[in-house]
Subunit: 206 residues, 2 copies
Amino acid sequence: MALAKTSTKKRLEIGAELVGDAEIIDGYANILFGVVKLIKGLPDGREQIVGLQFAPDFLGRPFQTESAVSAQAATNVVLCSFPKRTLEALIKQSPQLEHSLLKQALRELDEARDWMLTLGRKNALERVASYLLLIANYIDPALRPQEVIAFDLPMSRLEIADFLGLTIETVSRQLTKLRVDGVIQVRQSRHIVVNNPARLKTFSGG
Amino acid sequence: MALAKTSTKKRLEIGAELVGDAEIIDGYANILFGVVKLIKGLPDGREQIVGLQFAPDFLGRPFQTESAVSAQAATNVVLCSFPKRTLEALIKQSPQLEHSLLKQALRELDEARDWMLTLGRKNALERVASYLLLIANYIDPALRPQEVIAFDLPMSRLEIADFLGLTIETVSRQLTKLRVDGVIQVRQSRHIVVNNPARLKTFSGG
DNA sequence: CGGGTGCTTGAGTTTGCTCAACGGGCGTGG
DNA sequence: CCACGCCCGTTGAGCAAACTCAAGCACCCG
């Protein structure tokens, strides 16, 4: 990539905050490995995860920050960051880059709106099923309806709850229900086997 | 505006669907007057409003549609639409335009994420209070905390419920509660007087 | 005046939350 | 090596918030 010269590779431990790091928040970064969560909170401590960024997503907010979301590494993360100045200079000389930023922003907007439907209108079981499908789909974008798929959840129960607008207890109960119904298997609480993606989808409410 | 030559002014009756209209969905439009709602639905009929666009917002999805959201006029609407071809041609010769599209997409993304927090973590009363503040803020962006403000809601109770992820009965009950508490006055069900925006804000959860 | 639509209110039910106890995995220290 | 504590997740019991269903009211229009 043309940015190679000015970019720096960074490793973030799980749980690391990405705000505070001026170079990252002012500039832009490319996630090479791992999962970053975007969080919004209320004054009384309630929190909602408003976005998940997987490799190889871009990360950051060009032009005017103040986005009021904070970012945190959900897993160990490796990213390739470059300063704000570099990015803006590159945009000036290459409309192509701005175009790809626009495409990513529109994709994130679609994802956010999909999730608004989940948060506003789905019940707890449907939300958990939707979440599992989201992760399964990230692990294998070409997933077939009848194909068994296994993966490790990149998030704790608390993080899942904060993503789904539920409590940890409710998340746990719905996972148990899916397990008892034979739709999934749960091992070591992080490792999930989806026996039947098509059936899981029927639980997700569409 | 430079687009004046190829643009056409359109009037939409309240309730009119904007999908189906190829010229609008493929292209882009400028809302001159009124409110447009963006809707997502589940197969069983549940619906969630995932965005509200007020004048003078842009409307539409450049490059690759298939956004799976449908748009509908919440009030009578006047918009100025231009065909996809025109827009794309203009973008080619003016990076400035793409830049403003990016800015609008980022703004909509922020709004969507704000609302995810509301949908995922606020209770019914907080949601209704947040909605009233949202509308009040649209009516008067320079609203002061102690200033009384009156306005007509641009949406029915059903639409408000679909926006807040609630039922119409719950919306009605929370409005009653705010009225009984003296925070607002309700006249003819559409006309709202906010006696004390600062106090309303304390009900909105932040 | 009758019917329709949209809103409000009430009663009962359901869903998910709260609070609390318990259990397994893992790291630390004896 | 085992004992202990800690963290995370699970499970249970009771409760509270929002939903469902149903009735009633105001307004509009024919």
